[in-house]
């Protein structure tokens, strides 16, 4: 059994030799790609309103189109390559969320539609949904306590 001291010493050694993550490159790539995905969303939104959709509806449809595009890109095996380049720039937009649901659905199709697709689809997105809903409930409660609802 290695002593705590030996572990600490070794971890210091590891830190000394660990190559730095290319943070600047990653941040720039994330900013550019994340920005471009947002621009694409804006273009879709603009197109939809020009087609005569009310802004209120166009917001939802824009999200749906982006999710569809991301699902297609995931299916063709290119969305993960985009993320290898762009990191959080590809993860954070709604397209990243779609990928996190579509990728396990594709991966576990071989285990069947119930125990594979059905059970595994939300393994990555599940926590986001659980804590997203939980924090929404907390915020709603706070808002009600601070000033009531419906105004």
């Amino acid at each position: 059994m290695a002593t705590e001291k030996a572990k600490k010493q070794y971890q210091t050694l590891v830190k000394q030799h660990t190559p730095p993550r290319p943070i600047v490159r990653n941040v720039v790539a994330a900013f550019v790609v994340g920005g471009l995905i947002s621009v694409l969303g804006q273009l879709i939104f603009g197109g939809l309103t020009r087609l005569g959709f009310a802004s209120k509806d166009a917001y939802g449809y824009t999200g749906a189109v982006l999710i569809g595009l991301s699902a297609l890109a995931t299916g063709f095996g290119v969305y993960d390559s985009l993320a290898k380049f762009a990191g959080m720039g590809a993860n954070l937009p709604i397209t990243g969320f779609a990928n996190s649901i579509v990728s396990p659905a594709i991966e576990f199709k071989r285990e069947g539609y119930v125990m594979g697709v059905g059970a595994k689809m939300f393994t990555i997105a599940g926590p986001v949904i659980v804590y997203g809903l939980a924090s929404a409930a907390v915020m709603a409660l706070l808002r009600w306590l601070l000033g009531g609802v419906g105004r």
């Binding site: 572990k7 070794y10 590891v14 660990t18 190559p19 993550r21 995931t74 985009l82 990728s103 991966e107």
Partner: protein
């Protein structure tokens, strides 16, 4: 075969020596397309055009890699499956499914083993013990791994979008197999082996297996050198399994601290498999890694006299996603064998 009753089988504290030096009768490697584009591409026995091989799942494809490598190795050794007494095989998947299904298809009695990417050296060691002791005439050793089966079991779905850090490794798709037997004749022979101690220095990052494994590699290599009274310079190569760039640096540092620096003789199989422009980050990993490099790169050099003596020290990160989620760290192990080339070695 005569078993030498009086011959000492242990040297030093942990090393086991094989006085009759079990012989490598044949070896083969089968890899995926990405490995085929690597620096050793021409040396592999077979490079497949894709990595699904007409199967219904990646797991089934991994089994095909193992069975194909086994059949090719048996062909080279001029043996049929029923001429083999034991198959010692390992892979990275739960319940060792690859080895189990491959053994069912080959019809050879199986010793399934697991020490992650160190499985290959453990399998060679066990094969040598069986042959040396006269418990088997021919033993087939095989290990396999597949990038896509490993990703979906240990990490994320293959199409999940995420950025891997620079210390991450890429699991080798493929399999290697080696036939070990006794008797006279030329060919590389296994002259010694050592069972590794499991070392855990608290590394918790599953994207940095090299750091988790370097202390185990250092421990095993240093003990084997000490036990056998040899220096790193007595070997043409000391080859580790899949330490990657960072793990290699750490191994050099640790062995220098212990007074037996291996940097002048050390090669890491994980760094021989892919080209830098293939952008796999720190290098290759996986149970197949050490096996395919052994079969394609090391063995021919030992057989033709380019090399006389090699230490094969395969390293395994005994990584469990469950343990990591519970706040645990990654234990690691390194098993090793000494393989010597030339005529009449050990005879």
């Amino acid at each position: 075969m005569s078993v030498q009753e009086k011959a000492p089988r242990r040297q030093g504290r942990y090393t086991v020596v094989f006085p009759t030096a079990p012989r490598v009768l044949g070896a083969a490697s089968v890899v995926g397309p990405m490995e085929g584009r690597g620096p050793l591409g021409q040396l592999y026995d077979r490079v497949t055009a894709d990595d699904i091989l007409g199967q219904k799942s990646w797991e089934q494809a991994e089994t095909v890699y193992m069975v194909d490598a086994c059949r090719l190795a048996l062909e080279k050794a001029e043996l049929a499956p029923d001429g083999v007494d034991v198959l010692v095989a390992g892979d990275l998947l739960n319940q060792m499914v690859t080895s189990n299904v491959a053994a069912a298809q080959l019809g050879i009695p199986l010793f399934g083993i697991y020490s992650a990417c160190a499985s290959f050296a453990q399998a060679l060691f066990q094969a040598a013990v069986l042959v040396e002791g006269g418990f088997a005439r021919h033993v087939l050793v095989a290990t396999a791994s597949h990038h896509k089966t490993a990703e979906r079991q240990y990490r994320y779905p293959n199409e999940f979008a995420h950025q891997r850090p620079p210390t991450a490794t890429w699991t080798v798709t493929g399999a290697g197999a080696v036939v070990i037997g006794g008797g006279d004749g030329d060919g590389p022979r296994i002259t010694a082996g050592i069972v590794g101690r499991v070392v855990d220095l608290g590394v918790k990052d599953p994207y940095d297996m090299g750091s988790a494994m370097a202390p185990a590699a250092s421990d095993t290599i240093t003990r084997m050198l000490t036990d056998t009274g040899t220096a790193p310079e007595d070997y043409d190569v000391i080859i580790t399994g899949d330490l990657g760039e960072l793990g290699t640096k750490l191994l050099h540092e640790l062995t220098a601290q212990s007074g037996l620096p291996v940097s002048s003789r050390h090669q890491d199989a994980g760094m021989l498999i892919y080209r830098p422009e293939q952008d796999v980050h720190a290098g290759a990993s996986g149970a197949a890694g050490a096996a395919v490099v052994f079969a394609s790169w090391l063995l021919p050099q030992l057989a033709d006299g380019h090399m006389q003596r090699a230490m094969v020290a395969a390293t395994g990160a005994l990584h469990s996603p469950t343990l990591i989620q519970q706040g645990g760290s990654i234990p690691a192990v390194c098993h090793a064998v000494i393989v010597e080339g030339g005529r009449g070695v050990g005879a």
